[in-house]
């Protein structure tokens, strides 16, 4: 190109970080331009890459060829020598490509080994924890499943318990002291609930993360924003991490050494009179895997220290409100009853009437009504005997059985109402009580009949009332849950599956699922018909 009419252009050169204006004559080649840029940006020519109008400018070309005019902007990317190694993984990966497969195999191998290693080496617990975290973060479904577990949900829905858990971590406490806002946040149940809700909803979480990233980068570009971020990080995030790690370590040490169980505060420091685990009933298939994992089991560790009762545990606000929730949610009750460690606890309670009494005294269901609790206490041995029967346990955990019992019970009540004259005679009283007791125990009918008939009729009457109240409460909840409590909830997993298969008509899916009782295969057949 000739150099006639050497008009000087002011070209804006822009990198992600800075912007400079470079004056150059309009017929300059790109190489000449690059040399000018090189001077201004202090980077060697061969590391410069200029982009204009969607094209990379080549050294041999000229500015006019690309019609780069006065006041236009050119993008500059500096393939900096030092940064290139870290930033552009291209060169390094080129050589490591051959090395990667074996490394991958190794990492996959360790992952596969994990389940085998459980419980062998204490350090595996930490590994497992990390592994779990990895899994959870990379697998939102798993997180959601975990969050949807009724037991976990009830725990999370319970602000008292959460606060206790958080508060029991010394590092977390320190952090909260230093940052009142944070403690305010953690103590705000509504906030916690929102956060947890968020965690349960993967798309919401993703959305939040994304917008947060955006916000962060916006913040970073504000003058001083970066420093503020860094401060925030060192003030909050690091201590938070430390606290979490501390907790991990505690967990781990409690895993190897049951003496320092983080749950010990829950147990009020006084050991429960628990029995060795060998007494765990062999009945009931475990629906929750909780008892099978090596996570420290808060119920089984305090196996020593006989003679003392665990007031602390049942009086702690966390436990109280948990019991309350148990009462309100029969599904949860069922799940809990079927989980192995609760079974274990039940046996322990049966073998230990004192503990049971203690529990009843602290149970909000009963301690509002001293008469009731008195009744219960007197009848405790009988109840316990009934409870001991595995059949009985199965019956309690079977909503249909409970419902059937209630029906029988109601029948007897009706009978006594319809024929009130018979109600006054001692003979009929016994007959009704016998009836009701048979209903409550079913399998152990014969034993209860004899025991109850030996008590005074008045007591029996009260006991009956108590039993029927309990039963009513249970079935009322059950019915509500079984029928009214939205089929959306009951068939949620199936609905999701159907949705994933492309059946998007929610209403129709629900209808079909209700008709098939949740059998997804049958549902699909119907949908395809």
């Amino acid at each position: 190109m000739s150099s006639q009419g050497n008009k000087i252009l002011d070209v804006i050169v822009k990198t992600p970080k800075e912007k400079q204006t470079i004056s150059i004559h309009e017929n300059a080649t790109i190489l000449e331009f690059k040399e000018a840029v090189s001077l201004q940006f202090g980077a060697p020519v061969d590391q410069l890459c200029l982009i204009f109008a969607g094209r990379i400018l080549k050294d041999s070309e000229t500015l006019s060829q690309h019609s780069i005019k006065d006041g236009l902007a050119v993008h500059l990317v500096i393939k900096s020598g030092t940064k290139a190694q870290t930033a552009t993984p291209s060169e390094t990966t080129g050589t490591t490509t051959q090395n990667t497969p074996p490394m991958q195999q190794q990492s996959e191998g360790t992952q596969q080994q994990f389940p085998v290693n459980f419980g062998i080496d204490p350090s595996t617990f930490q590994n497992m924890h990390q592994y779990m975290q990895q899994q959870l973060t990379s697998n939102p479904d798993m997180l959601r499943q975990m969050m949807d577990n009724p037991m976990v949900q009830s725990m999370l829905n319970n602000p008292d318990l959460m606060q206790q858990l958080i508060g029991s971590n010394p590092q977390m406490q320190q952090l909260m002291e230093r940052n009142p806002e944070l403690s305010h946040m953690l103590n705000n149940p509504e906030m916690m609930r929102q956060a947890l809700e968020m965690a349960r909803n993967p798309s919401m979480l993703q959305e939040m993360m994304r917008s947060q990233d955006r916000a962060m980068s916006n913040l970073e570009s504000i003058p001083g924003g970066f420093n503020a971020l860094r401060r925030m990080y060192s003030d909050i995030q690091e201590p938070m991490m430390n606290a979490a790690q501390e907790m991990n370590e505690q967990m781990r040490s409690s895993y190897t050494n049951p003496g320092s169980n983080p749950f010990s505060s829950l147990l009020g420091g006084a050991g429960t009179q628990t029995q060795p685990q060998s007494q765990q009933p062999s009945s009931s298939p475990s629906s929750t895997p909780a008892g099978t994992s090596p996570v420290p089991n808060p119920w089984e560790n305090r196996s020593t220290a006989p003679g003392s009762t665990s007031t602390g545990m049942f009086q702690s606000p966390g436990m109280q409100s948990m019991l309350q929730q148990l009462r309100e949610n029969p599904q949860l009750m069922q799940d809990t009853l079927q989980s192995p460690f609760v079974q274990n606890m039940m046996t322990q309670m049966m073998n230990n009437p004192q503990l049971m009494q203690q529990m009843l005294a602290n149970n909000p269901l009963f301690n509002n009504d001293p008469q009731l609790s008195e009744q219960i206490r007197e009848n405790m041995p009988n109840i316990l005997r009934q409870m001991q029967n595995p059949q009985m346990q199965q019956i309690i955990s079977n909503p249909q059985a409970v419902q059937a019992m209630l029906q029988i019970q109601q029948g007897f009540q009706q009978l006594s109402h319809a024929v009130p004259s018979t109600g006054n005679t001692p003979g009929s009283t016994t007959s009704t009580t016998t009836g009701t007791n048979t209903t409550t125990s079913s399998g152990t009918g014969s034993t209860t009949t004899t025991t109850t008939s030996s008590t005074s009729p008045q007591q029996q009457e009260q006991f009956n009332q108590l039993m029927s109240q309990m039963m009513q409460a249970m079935t009322a909840n059950n019915q509500q849950q079984q029928s009214n409590l939205q089929p959306e909830v009951r068939f949620r997993t199936q609905l999701e599956q159907l949705n994933a298969m492309g059946f998007v008509d929610q209403a129709r899916n629900l209808q079909v699922l209700s008709a098939t009782g949740g059998d997804i295969n049958a549902a699909i057949e119907q949908l395809l018909r």
Binding site: A53, R55, H75, P89, S90, Q104
Partner: protein, 160 residues
């Protein structure tokens, strides 16, 4: 001409991360260069793409197609970019996207390219166009990074 105003605007005050121009003299055919966003596996790469605008733009979205090979869950094997805002307006028959997430006439080349850049940084593996890439991104990050690095390297050499 909406498009042309934008082009001159972009050439005077360029937006971070990409550069845009015309392929030839046709205002409906754009050439863009996306600079691999920093702190992503795509850092250091120069990804060339074509934007083909329909005649009734902006009523309908342009088609964006990478000319440089790029391994990404939301870019199909032909280089076509599949992100919700480039999808024809209206309701999604599969129920994946809301109409508000799809093409709307208020979008510009700038918003499209910013979306594409954020897509590079944060792939959406829920409705992938390249199943292999989505699978690797989700399950085998190392392999994903390795294959992306290969693309980055190729993108550098093809222009030098």
């Amino acid at each position: 001409m909406l498009n042309f105003n934008l082009l001159t605007e972009l050439q005077r005050k360029p937006t971070e991360g990409f550069s845009a121009g015309l392929q030839d003299d046709d205002i409906f055919k754009w050439a863009v260069m996306i600079i691999g966003p920093p702190d992503t596996p795509f850092e250091g790469g120069f990804f060339k793409a074509h934007l083909d605008f329909p005649r009734d733009y902006p009523q309908r979205p342009p088609v964006m197609q990478f000319q440089t090979k790029i391994y990404h869950p939301n870019v199909d094997k032909d280089g076509k970019v599949c992100i919700s805002i480039l999808h024809e307006p209206g309701e999604d028959k599969f129920g994946y996207e809301k109409s508000s997430e799809r093409w709307r006439p208020i979008h510009t080349v700038e918003t499209i390219l910013l979306s594409v850049i954020s897509m590079l940084a944060d792939p959406n593996d829920e409705s992938p166009a390249n199943i292999d890439a989505a699978k690797d991104w989700r399950e085998n990050k190392e392999k994903f990074k390795r294959l992306v690095a290969q693309c980055v390297r190729e993108s550098q050499t093809s222009y030098d």
